[in-house]
Amino acid sequence: MIELHKLTKDYGTTIAVNKLSLNVAAGEIYGFIGPNGAGKTTTIRLMGGILAPTSGSIIIGGLDMAKKPVEGKKMIGFVPDRPFLYEKLTGMEFLRFSADLYDVKRDTFLQKAQNLLQQFALLDWADELIEAYSHGMKQRLIIASALLHDPRILIIDEPMVGLDPAAVHMVKDILKELAVNQTTIFISTHTLSIAEDLCHRIGLIHKGTLLAQGTLDELKHIAKLGEARLEEVFLTIIKENTFI
């Protein structure tokens, strides 16, 4: 469902992503981990069509994002790391705006929106302006809006930042359920325990280059560690700069 081929983003002064290639299958949860400034957010933004790559290609659901960006984006639910929204709209108005752009059926919109707002504990706030929401509430609203059009691919940058433990638990359950229903999920995170709990495969990026990828066991093997937590694997690979 997601194919990145020699993806490169050069900002002029830094190469944020350097010839990155990877594949994510349908129904798979792929965790993308790496230290600060490794190129995780840039990769996510390139995949979401927010940034244009310097070179390389992004294939989403068989569509080249450079050639058919609009059709590609229709398949994606995108959740950025920082919840910037239209502060002067209410939560429900924002969901309607999203539904109109992603062409959600009008007759099912209201029911769907109310269910999502209920699920994310925002129903009582549906008619309040977003400027009055807390950081966590905005994050929950963004995730709800990303799920509104039943995306085939979910791209999430730091999904749990700002969420309370109950919301973290709920989001994890939702993501697992979506994967069971064949939604492809690409998550970038710093929280290694989340990657460990949720992801079928994990990719480790450092200085724009993919150092290693595979299941947790495969990563342990690469790091030449026996029984170890992802944290130890992460630190070992980063320290030794072990390539795949």
């Binding site: 979401g48 229709k74 950025p80 109109d100 752009l101 302006l129």
Partner: protein, 564 residues
Amino acid sequence: MNTILSLLRPRILSAINSLRTDNEKNSWVRIFMYSVVGIVFWIGIFIIFYRVLFYFQSVQDFGNILAMKLISMLIMTFFTLLLFSNIVNCLSHLYLSQDLPLLHSLPVSSKDIFFSRWIISTFDSSWMIVAFSFPVFLSYGLIYKTGIIFYVIFLVAIILMCLISSALSGILVLLGAIILPAGRIRTILIILGVILVLFLILFLRLIRPEQLVNPDSFASVVLYLNSMQTPNSPLLPTTWITDAIKAALNGEIKSCLFNIALTGTCAFMLIFISNITAQAAYFMGFSKSQTTPQRLFAPVKYKDYNWESLLNFLTRESKAFAVKEIRTFFRDSAQWPQLFLMAALIAIYLYNFSVLPLDNSPIKTIYLQNLFSFLNIGLAAFVLTAIAARFVFPAVSMEGEAFWIVQAAPVSTKNFLWIKFFLYYIPLVILAEVLVVVSNLLLRVSPFMMALSAITIFCLVPAVVGMAIGLGAVYADFKSENPAQVVTSFGGLLFMILCFCLIALVIILEAGPVYYIFIANLRGQSFSLLQIIWSIISFIFTLFLCLLAVFYPIYLGEKKLRIR
């Protein structure tokens, strides 16, 4: 003192870093353009005041009184401007800036944070007044042939005036923020300020100053001049500042120093009081400003009426953007005063045409009416440019940090820009046509001029809106704390200059053919072949220019947003 300097350092370093050569906003073209505009304004102010004062000198008896009265009026105006701008700046710097939570988490007293912020606010509010009041007083100095002491006294007096207004504003804001959250005070103040300005403009316009040239009104002018000699209240700092400058102008050093001393002690006493007030009240007000914002007016809902259905003729994605744009625009209280100002601008514009003394003019009325009508096209287009600069140019930047939503949505950048274009084009074309047609009706122009004005404006509106959207996208600033201010940036300036050039070109291109047609109609003559060819080429070239101004900037804007 060291703490205050440390708190000021980020601002100073940011200013220095913005001058670095690797800063992409720091190109030579940009610096050159800002310098040229600044110098032109500066020289313009100097020339106007020099000529006015030179004229005053030639008027016996009254000339000196008028020149002195002008000083007190200027000081009063500067002081009012400083007071208002300081209050708005103090509110932003003391309570609403994004870095304040960080500053308050640092181990420094709230009094020190207040003082460092107050210094920044004073500088931001005052530098322009100091810079642009200098040519005014330079012209006084040259006309009255003063020595260097006059300029020193003027500079000290103006700086002390800035300190007084800033300290006063600080005290007012500190006390106000205890009662109401700072964000609310700013909204209310801006609305009240604009209403006050509107009343002043309307009042001044409605007293019809042009009637002063009427000999019948001379009696009232004499009465007015007599009232001018009434002294101002000796308790006001503006009186001391005015008296100090007047004394320096007339070489009365003792009186001058006395008034400067009065002003200086007042300024330092107010700074002292503001610091004591800050110690007691600043943190309380800051804490209040951190509360959840509430709507200024509760929403009114009518069950049977849904305005969104009026937009059903649009495609679904266009309607979504239109509804979002309209809602965010009208819910943003910072936009309301601008709307009032725009309404006043239009009302005064039309009123001016209704009171033109066409019948009393020595020039034949028919020439005058049609000349005014032709110039009216340019004037209406300039008004339109001003409105577009304020509302349309920042439209892309207004998406702010939420622009990722548009980028991630299945909408092409091109469509996004064209939706924005039509959202602003429709209301503006209606507004511009109403403006031109009503003013032409007031001028009682010929059907030809009426048609020409309506068609030209119909072509100019999309050109101006296209340039505003396109250049607004090229020079978009999604990180600004106040996106409406992007119009004061390099891109905004470039937009204004290009619009003025376009309007001037269109007027020049149309002037020749319009003259031929007008004269031919008036004298019943036929056109020569050369005149016909020239007219056709002129109109085609005008149309081409307008089309180019619509499509090319939007293409550039799309390209710029796509390669971010």
